[in-house]
Symmetry: C2
Subunit: 151 residues, 2 copies
Amino acid sequence: MTFFYFEDFAVGQKFLGSERFVLDAAAIKSFAAAYDPEPFHLDEAAASRNPALRGLTASGWHTASITMRLLVESELRPMGGILGLGVDEIRWPRPVRPGDELRVESEVIELRPSESRPAHGIVKIRTTTFNQANEPVQLVVSNILVERRAA
Amino acid sequence: MTFFYFEDFAVGQKFLGSERFVLDAAAIKSFAAAYDPEPFHLDEAAASRNPALRGLTASGWHTASITMRLLVESELRPMGGILGLGVDEIRWPRPVRPGDELRVESEVIELRPSESRPAHGIVKIRTTTFNQANEPVQLVVSNILVERRAA
């Protein structure tokens, strides 16, 4: 297994392979009951009446959490783990439905030193989550703190 | 219970009361095992060795998901539920630790019509998640789709 220090990352570097994560209706409802208890994430009939969704839909936070898991399991392995400082943007361009199989692709889009932590750098990564039809269901741009190689 | 149409929101409107959500170490590890299996979210010893964290820390996605739950339970109740289109920003300024008690405050910061859905508007909301010491542990700016009152 290869682990990356800050110096090992390059803008444009891509991590395309990922595991797959399949969601069923039970998983969608279970996450929603704990963290996003809206009718359109909990109940098929209520969801089908929602004009913007027209059917049971996973919480965006469920999709974001699954994306994190797929990222942790991917080849993008900073030394010490993926330590997120924050996110610049999340978009959910289409709903995630029961039976969807998700995977991720990520790309390094910016590298900068950490002002507050001289032993670390900040890697900005754009991650796209796709469903089984290769349609993007989430875009996220995140900033992670990565150790520099000792001088 | 009051439900809000798009026209009922105003820039500067605040929703300050919220429920409380307490995390213990077991909940932090359980979420991390499912969605963010990094050593510093799973194991006290590994976490204490991480120089940036110095102790077991909740996944940022766990904090984000708890924030969503507190928001759904708050007085911010759009007609039809909180339907997120995306997020402009998330920051995690300090770690969430076992035993922390979280609450949220939110404020409407922008209102605009939906270009693609004439029956809806888009409400931009800034939500701050605080711990029991009233220190912010997360800032999130989110865009939600809200029904307009029928003309």
